[in-house]
């Protein structure tokens, strides 16, 4: 009897702890939404209003979308993100398949080399990467030595190219391919399939969870990316959501309603992707921790 009471007490304490942490995680976002729906007089009222009193003012969302030209901004961001996802899924899976199933001299050393590039932080190469993009020969007003103009700065290729393939993606998909039996490939070879056919028709479909995980990772990474777009694409015509929002901060008077509303709009796509695919995403993260 006493033991059962202890058990229930323990569970209750556990739930209270979890709920408190959960509220701590969620509450700031709720406050954000609340602020975004208020009119300015309510935002700066004292004491603070928990919820908008007058009406729930969705006008903030419309106004900030127009002010920042979100139609263009979301288009730019979507193009960059989708390109990166497709490219990563295609080329990282080809590489992962090769490192896992094909046999050729130097294979393992080469894979180690790919892993080694994971040690290169983006911040260590942002400067030369920018120089590479800005001094790209024969584009954007540059001569064939890359001098004179602005190269691929503020263009789609400049924004997207450095994000098309990730060493992490190669690593992740190779690990997934390792779980598929080698015999499948031998059998298919006996049937006379080409290498690409084996990869495309047999192994790739078997790797759906891995592809889903990488797809979500890449989507999150590119959509949320800030430093690279800030550096290479920072005009109203050519910037991603994160950079557009940060431009609001540089005004003299900060319009908090606009800031909150635009930030919510920036989070929503990522949130949706995450909620839909969280099973794969969490599995993907877990694998990186285990295989380490």
């Amino acid at each position: 009897m006493h033991k059962k009471f202890c058990g229930i007490l323990q569970t209750a304490v556990l739930y209270i702890a979890l709920a408190s942490i959960g509220i701590t995680m969620l509450a700031p976002f709720l406050w954000m939404i609340s602020t975004s729906l208020k009119i300015n007089s309510e935002i700066f009222s004292y004491p603070l209003l928990l919820l908008p009193k007058k009406e729930w003012d969705f006008a903030n969302y419309v106004e900030v979308s127009n002010f920042l030209d979100f139609e263009r901004v979301f288009l730019v961001t979507t193009i960059a993100t989708v390109s990166a996802v497709v490219s990563n899924l295609l080329f990282c899976s080809m590489a992962g398949y090769t490192f896992s199933k094909l046999n050729f001299p130097g294979r393992d050393l080469l894979f180690l080399g790919v892993l080694a590039t994971l040690m290169i932080p983006f911040q260590a190469i942002v400067v030369p990467l920018f120089v590479l993009i800005a001094r790209f020969p024969l584009v954007g007003g540059n001569n064939f030595l890359g001098q004179g103009g602005s190269g691929l700065v503020n263009t789609f290729p400049g924004l997207i190219l450095p994000q098309l393939v990730s060493a992490f993606g190669i690593f992740l998909l190779r690990q997934f391919f390792q779980t598929v039996p080698d015999e499948l490939r031998d059998a298919a070879k006996i049937d006379g399939s080409s290498e690409f056919g084996i990869y495309w028709k047999i192994f790739l479909p078997l790797c759906r969870p891995g592809l889903a995980a990488l797809g979500i990772f890449t989507f999150l990474g590119v959509w949320n990316n800030f430093m690279w777009p800030l550096v290479v694409a920072n005009t109203p015509q050519m910037r991603v959501v994160q950079v557009a929002i940060s431009s609001l901060r540089e005004q003299y008077s900060t319009d908090w309603a606009y800031l909150m509303a635009s930030s919510i709009m920036a989070i929503l796509p990522v949130l949706t992707v995450f909620l839909v695919g969280q099973k794969y995403f969490i599995r993907g993260i877990s694998i990186t921790g285990i295989k380490a």
């Binding site: 959960g22 954000m32 603070l48 050729f104 190469i125 901060r249």
Partner: protein
Amino acid sequence: MSRTQLSRKESINAIIFLAPSLGFLLIFLIFPILASFYLSFTQYDIFSPSKWVGFRNYVQHFSDPLFWNSLRVSFYFTLGSVPARMFLALGLAVILNSQIKGISIFRSLFFLPSVASIVAISMLWLWLYNPSFGIFNFILNSFGFSSQSWLRNPQQAPFCLIIMEIWRTVGYWMIIYLAGLQEIPEQHYEAAKIDGANKWQLFLYITFPCLIPVTLFILVMSTIWTLQIFAQVYIMTQGGPANATSVVVHRIYVEAFKQMRFGYASASSIIFFFIVIFITFLYLKILRTEA
């Protein structure tokens, strides 16, 4: 086909399959880091051709108070957030690992801040820390405490960013700890329970030792990632007040893109790169001795 013909065909296929991704890594990862080395020995403002200056950039770094300050700030920031965050992540993972209902909801909830973009979260916490209308001061006032200036105060600003960073990323590391916990074979616990071990002993002698590789991994990864922060500083404090939050990467950004000193910034980048490499090698060394 003969054996050698088959293996040559395989090698050719391998080259074709690897060409796009490895070529990409070569151009956009390996070439830039080499270029970074080269640029660090030059003076370059990107408009005029680069000028070779040898080790001058590195020598100047020695006497650059702003650079040393940024190293101090970055390490202080890392020291302040990594242990606390790991402790919290482990605790949450242990709680979530017990067989209670609704685990996936809590898991998603804790993970939520990691998913939102750093920019959005920076704006949010900027608002929370607002001295006049932010909710933190409002709560303080309600309990009779005076308002703080938070991000405007050089002593408090780093602490504010640390709290935000822990809040933002603890869910991510919790997931990895959770995976590590679930890898521990049930038999270990069964055997110990038969021997009469209680909950604490189970944790100390089975759970914790089994988690050492994962803990090491999280320690190194979160250290490296925390050293790399940029967006929060750029948006919330621009390195201030009085350079109290000027982290290394923000310093690199200012040197390159505000002061147009690409050579000098490359030297900063290389120094930063070597710090990351050093930490990684420490980790690999410890990992090898562990095994």
